[in-house]
Symmetry: C2
Subunit: 468 residues, 2 copies
């Protein structure tokens, strides 16, 4: 087969750039670090959004929209927050042809402006828990931008909640981590993720505790795919949010915030992609099945059109490829590049025999299936392909993750993948030594699978790896 992309084993970053360009996924915008998300990638994003949005709504949050522009002074109200975000800000100084009295920051995240509203909206314990979410663009100036992974502007959702107790905020932050983020990543994106606690060094600017979902890419580097923060009363203090409890006492609520972004597209590409291109999990594939007219002939086009109609009726996102003026080989390369999970090829002989070739991208196999009943069978075939990608990604991650017991071994292991090392062995000092070697603690997890309540307790492991 002709070489379409730089092979992953030869140069992974180059492979990534190639697949972004050739599969028409994303490209650089003219302002440094910004990006254009092209229709094929945006179609994937729309499906990722749908899964996230349904789960966010199921958590009880409602969508709203807050302004892009935030007065600079708002960010200063929370000391850690402004310190963390200050180097990344884009600032509007001119509006309507005039210098602004107070510069406005293009939101890097919306804790400040949302909590300014919550201070007006929350007054009684009856208003709690208060759960809100927005889908928005944010801007964080990037010195080393990388398309879809680290860009000066990206799209995301950010959820913000207020609760009557610290415990409730804590358990809600974990609920989002598991039922919204991990569920979307594993079930929709077919990407296994570690759920864990961020170290103090890695936590969000303004948070008390940060939690994250971390995936392992095919080059052995980790990617933070979603974060959920316990904000304590930091922003409630900064923005004077208070409610009257059942006994008439004024109280500060406890808050959370949580976000996941277009970076998830980068994860889908880097976890499932191979040397032929993308491999899309059916649940987020804009086209799940392509019906390709391989060769023209009596009734072929009609049969192909009918199959597409039957697939659509069966709830499958199907597309017809009738372009017989382009060679079959070239079109197959194109559909594989775009990662469409199932390809059905139709020619006169296939129709005569009633048995048609069905190529499965996840398994890299071509089977045959009776044309009769194929549309009805397709949802189950797509499910097996979804499961297959998750299975492969799990096997890959297991292969590239090792338990180690010393810092030296952790550094060695991080050359190829992730290391799991006792946090008691590592500690703050070890974390610093790893950072010097370009390796970070992705998150802290427990031996027994529970989430880490106390990092200093026994049985806590650090997942360490190079990271995007």
């Amino acid at each position: 087969m002709a070489r379409v992309l730089t092979p992953q084993a030869e140069d992974f970053p180059r492979w990534y750039q190639d697949v972004l360009a050739k599969a028409q996924l994303a490209e650089n915008g003219p302002v440094r670090g910004t990006m254009v998300i092209r229709p094929w990638a945006f179609g994937i994003w729309e499906l990722v959004q749908r899964g996230l949005d349904d789960r966010i709504k199921a958590s009880g949050a409602r969508n709203a929209y807050f302004p892009l522009l935030i007065p600079e002074s708002y960010l200063r109200r929370e000391a850690d927050h402004i310190e963390g975000f200050s180097p990344e800000l884009a600032v509007v100084t001119v509006g309507g042809g005039k210098e602004l009295a107070e510069p406005a920051v293009v939101r890097p995240t919306s804790e400040t402006i949302i909590n300014a509203s919550l201070a007006r909206w929350i007054s009684s314990y009856r208003d709690l828990p208060f759960k809100i979410n927005q889908w928005a663009n944010v801007v964080r100036w990037e010195l080393r931008p990388r398309l879809l992974l680290r860009t000066s502007e990206f799209l995301w959702q950010e959820g913000h909640t207020a609760h009557a107790s610290c415990e409730e905020a804590h358990s809600f932050a974990l609920e989002i981590l598991e039922d919204t983020y991990a569920a979307t990543m594993e079930r929709d994106l077919a990407i296994p993720v570690w759920r864990g606690r961020k170290t103090d060094r890695e936590k969000f600017a303004g948070a008390v505790v940060s939690w994250s979902c971390e995936g392992l890419m095919r080059d052995g580097k980790a990617l933070q795919m979603g974060t959920s923060h316990e904000l304590g009363q930091n922003f409630a203090n900064a923005f004077d949010i208070a409610y009257t409890d059942e006994r008439g006492t004024r109280q500060r609520p406890w808050q959370t915030s949580w976000g996941a972004s277009t970076r998830l597209l980068g994860a889908v590409i880097m976890v499932h992609g191979d040397d032929q291109g993308l491999r899309l999990p059916p649940r987020v594939a804009p086209v799940q099945v392509v019906v390709l007219v391989a060769r023209e002939g009596e009734g072929v086009f009609e049969q192909a059109s009918r199959l597409v109609a039957d697939l659509t009726r069966a709830g499958v996102r199907a597309e017809l490829d009738p372009h017989t003026d382009v060679s079959v080989g070239r079109r197959i390369v194109e559909w594989e590049l775009r990662g469409v999970p199932v390809r059905v090829e139709l020619g006169p002989r296939d129709i005569a025999s009633g048995q048609v070739p069905v190529a499965l991208r996840a398994e890299a196999v071509k089977t045959t299936h009776a044309l009769d009943g194929l549309a009805q069978a397709m949802p189950a075939i797509l499910e097996t392909q979804q499961d297959e990608l998750l299975r492969q990604a799990r096997a890959f991650r297991d292969r590239l993750t090792s338990r180690v017991t010393t810092i030296g071994e952790a550094i060695e292991q991080a050359r190829v993948g992730a290391a799991r090392v006792p946090w008691a062995t590592l500690g703050l000092d070890g974390e610093r030594r790893l950072l010097e070697a370009g390796i970070s603690v992705r998150c802290l997890v427990r031996e027994d699978g529970a989430l880490v309540d106390d990092p200093e307790a026994g049985g806590v492991d650090a997942i360490v790896a190079r990271a995007y």
Copy 2:
């Protein structure tokens, strides 16, 4: 009934402010002219978006995303475009703590940055027609902001297409105007609209011809609700977009762009709202039916819950109001304020009799209906309410629109509503005289209902009114 809002007849702008605040729809952001869209209004917007997005996709356009920040120099490439938008720009001059070499404009619209991409993506006649859409926020500095109608930041979709011929671009611009915009407005929002051609004075900065849909609000002022522009080859020239035609000749494509925004929420409020609050067309109502437990009693809560479940199964967006600790009257005021189309009230006696009160917001009537079979009957009831709102809005618009034959009569009629005056009578000079009186030509329409090909031909009327 207690007075909840300033009556429309007393002070319409005040009524509008009241309903925005009391129904928790929108409020001002801290940076002048920006706004917060609260969950109830955003829920309406999500349904408006769904209807628009489905129709946009049916037109063949695919969604994508382009950067928020545009180099200032891009806007200068099309002379009319920069002249029109220059006074409204918000400009980022600092990024990542440093003064930028070239200031970046926060997009006021995206013709320039999108066409810079199209110049790379379009090279052959096979790439045409090219149809793309994005959902995005845009910023246009407003001196006299008004929530949801005219804000410094708003949300919208903007479609951009390129075609092989002027005729094709022309007919696509009109297809969007009718099949996407007018269809969404009339079928989903229950708002009748005039479709017409903008005068040269009112057209989009950079367009050859602009078309719009215009609605008439309850205070007799018009609102531009969506626009579709024929851009000719203006941007293709400015951004050097070219394709090779079938004969191998390099050609410039012909383009369109079209947008509709969160302003549509303002239209829904101002066309259907009354002195009790919003009246939502069922198709865009986040809650279509509220089942209100009026009084507690044996099995009432269970019956109410079962009805909500049955309604949900019947495809109805239904919500339970079990808050018997708040008086029935107060809750009814609240649900009417929020504009929920149908309210079912359940108490012990209603359940005993098997006949329940059903209040219809659009008709301001309370009927009774057998509890048995109510859920199954509800989709049809909602459809009659949808039709009823459109009928009322049409009757209102007809009542407030008059044909006149002189400029003086037009000025007189515009005190209360819209005037339809022959364009031949008006002309550029008359248009200027009207503007001095605070009245604008909303659009040009034809006597026979066809769209205006040639404004100077006979049988062309101008719709004139005060406008938002």
